[in-house]
């Protein structure tokens, strides 16, 4: 099982999409402390978790895994949801593209489930307004 290939298949297109925005929006992945330049800077937190690996009934291949993808968008609190939703749309577009990518003979074949959310929240102490989506994923490592 190549967990890193699965992680890369999810992370790379999202990173590319947010880096391509003008200005680019910082993206922080698992095990990286999010430290943007100041507390009002918008940023994206992407967490990938693994559930079951090599479930025999999932596909004919035994090199497969399931898990969850959680995307949180942090924008400035008190300024409405518009900017947060714009960034969420960027993420959702990437997920839809990923889901429509045809299966090849090599690499990692990825399919995503339904997208839950977005849900929005903020707290008294934190300076950010947080939009959150999550989805399930099933990946088969073909090579």
């Amino acid at each position: 099982m190549n967990y890193q290939a699965i992680r890369a298949a999810l992370e790379n297109p999202l990173l590319t999409a947010f880096n391509s925005l003008v200005p680019a929006v910082p993206v922080f992945f698992d095990n990286i402390t999010a430290v943007p330049p100041n507390t009002t800077t918008e940023y994206v937190r992407i967490n990938i978790t693994f559930g079951i690996t090599n479930e025999p009934t999932l596909t004919s291949s035994v090199d497969n895994a399931r898990g969850a993808l959680i995307i949180r968008i942090f924008t400035e609190k008190g300024r409405g949801p518009a900017r947060n939703q714009t960034l969420l749309t960027t993420a959702v577009n990437v997920l839809e593209t990923l889901n429509n990518t045809a299966k090849t003979n090599a690499g990692t074949f990825m399919r995503l489930g339904e997208i839950n959310g977005p849900t929005f929240s903020s707290t008294d102490e934190a300076p950010h307004f947080v939009g959150r989506i999550d989805t399930s994923w099933v990946a088969t490592v073909l090579t």
Partner: protein, 183 residues
């Protein structure tokens, strides 16, 4: 008298049909709650004991919110009315009555409040700052170890359980065990 006998028979028939059809689903609901209790955060135990199983007609089991280690929740008995109300899928609904359940499941952000007593599960710290459950409050120059935040469950434990296949496995296992018992 005859009407009473008929009523009794009808009630008995209801119970038999319900038991045959829904025993596996009841066991599945119990198994899922047990796993959620085990995987989720547990400081005082209130959240673990706030999981409950309910039926369409409003019969509820669990959800006491008592402190301490998790108490297993037994699915409520189903009536014929429950089954008729929910013909397809499981008639059991699982939810959590804690007011902060959305924060404890990482579906919303929240400010961490130290309960001021030892936790019932091992506590980790260091990957979040400034008390924000689910996501650090970024403080320039810090590496996430200075904040007061503590966690007794990994970030996104609930979403991982639901989306990562463990929920499906729990249901499948309970249904299979129930079928074996029926034979």
């Amino acid at each position: 008298m005859a009407k009473n006998a008929f009523d009794e028979l009808s009630r008995w028939g209801d119970r038999v049909a319900v038991n045959l059809l829904y025993k596996g689903r009841a066991r599945a609901a119990e198994q899922v709650v047990a796993e959620l209790q085990e995987l989720g955060p547990r400081w005082s135990g209130k959240f673990s004991n706030s999981w409950r199983i309910s039926t369409p007609t409003g019969t509820v089991a669990g959800g006491t919110g008592q402190e301490g280690n998790p108490v297993p929740v037994k699915a409520p008995e189903l009536s014929g009315a429950d089954v008729r109300t929910k013909l397809f899928g499981s008639p059991f609904k699982i939810d959590n009555t804690a007011s902060y359940a959305d924060v404890a499941t990482d579906l919303a952000t929240g400010d961490f409040e130290n309960p001021g007593k030892p936790a019932l599960k091992p506590v980790s710290r260091g990957n979040r700052t400034k008390g924000i459950r689910g996501e650090p409050w970024p403080v320039p120059g810090t590496r996430g170890t200075e904040g007061p935040n503590r966690a007794t469950a990994p970030l996104d434990w609930f979403t991982t359980y639901v989306d990562g296949g463990s929920l499906d496995k729990a249901i499948e296992k309970a249904m299979r065990q129930s079928e074996k018992g029926f034979k």
